[in-house]
Amino acid sequence: MSRILILNAIPDDTRPELETQLDKLTSDPKQHFECKVIRLRDLDIRYCTGCWDCWVKTPGLCAHKDAMTEIYPEVIAADSVVFLSPISMGFVTALCKKVCDRLIPLVHPYFEIYKGEMHHKSRYEKRPALAVWLTDESPESVDLDNIHRLFERLSVNMKTDFSGVIYAKTTMEDIANALSAL
């Protein structure tokens, strides 16, 4: 059974119905996947300061001792990580981006050529596929393209698969089908 980690980066409580559906989904034993949701806005998560301690002082460990300490093992253990966010100023929320930045302890500082480009080496052998789930019902195509492209690049840098951007999933069935397809 695949393990899906949903990082809920909705910054406020304006989408209670969707979050209720999510709660139901995670406790539904009939699903073909194991799903865990982490609501990021409730947690103390600091911004990456670019100190590089996780690369050159305490390899693999972030200098911040905050809620990310609990999230890192969940990310590594998952088969897919889904960033759930509304479109914000044409991109994902700052809350979502803050968590993306904090993923750098999962890569190694060393450079290597990957797909013909310079990238950092991976620190972990097993890496979850990434996906984005936008809460917007009818996003503009330019925003969809930009978000797709940026997270596709992130997936290349993390040396993992990108499962794509999903959106306009409002019923539990829709959500379950989209997640099953990851």
């Binding site: 911004y47 690369w55 050159v56 390899p59 693999g60 929320t93 803050k98 190694h108 050529i113 310079m118």
Partner: protein, 216 residues
């Protein structure tokens, strides 16, 4: 002309982004009657008051290092702070600077596309994105290039397209050189920048640690 130079690096005045803005500011100042304000976006609690300064400026430059293929979280937080003022930027020009340790432009091009879109969302004029790849340090040659871009900016209020393209001309490694680059990255000298820091911190032996590996 009133300029606001925003440093979107979490490192504030201690990073490469700050040095790039120094070079740009010096270039802009080479023409008289230029009023420059500098601001650090790492003071997130000051974003709202900074937006008021921004509204009073004419040319805004937002510079940041590439973090996980886009802007750092603090820079995105500042972008979100602009949302209540959408519609008030029609007399503003937004220019951007993206700097990355990777030598190829390809890493920065998706965020460049996003920044074009951002200017459109704001209803502002897009003044171009200067991509600076491959620089862990600001050397004199690079300082001169950026300085010149700043001087041209004060003439036209947008980045000179030719100048910014020449700043990092390499889009991707040519196919013929990729094998050679692969070999080069296997040489210890390629990783010496990191190795020297790992050794100085007594962390070299632990450099491949995987602290979050599942125990089962």
């Amino acid at each position: 002309m009133r300029y606001l130079l925003c440093n979107g690096s979490p490192k504030g005045n201690n990073g490469n982004t700050s040095m790039i803005l120094d070079a740009l500011a010096e270039g802009i100042s080479s023409v008289s009657d230029q009023h420059i304000i500098r601001a650090n976006l790492n003071r997130v609690q000051e974003h709202e008051s900074l937006v008021l300064t921004l509204l009073d400026s004419e040319v805004i430059i937002i510079a940041f290092p590439l973090y996980t293929d886009a802007m750092p979280g603090i820079t995105m937080a500042f972008i979100e702070a602009l949302r209540p003022h959408i519609g008030q930027f029609d007399k503003h020009t937004f220019c951007f600077v993206v700097q990355s340790g990777f030598p190829e432009r390809i890493h920065c091009e998706p965020v460049e596309k996003y920044l074009i879109r951002l200017a459109g969302i704001l209803g502002a004029k897009y003044g171009g994105t200067l991509i600076l790849g491959g620089g862990m340090m600001m050397n004199p040659k690079r300082f001169q290039i950026v300085n010149h871009i700043g001087a041209r900016l004060s003439d036209t209020q947008v980045f000179d397209e030719t100048c910014i393209k020449n700043a990092t001309p390499l889009i991707r490694f040519p196919v013929v050189s990729r094998g050679l680059m692969t070999l080069a990255t296997k040489l210890p000298v390629t990783q010496s920048y990191w190795d020297s820091q790992l050794k100085a911190n007594g962390a070299y032996e632990r450099r491949f640690d995987c602290p979050y590996e599942p125990k089962d």
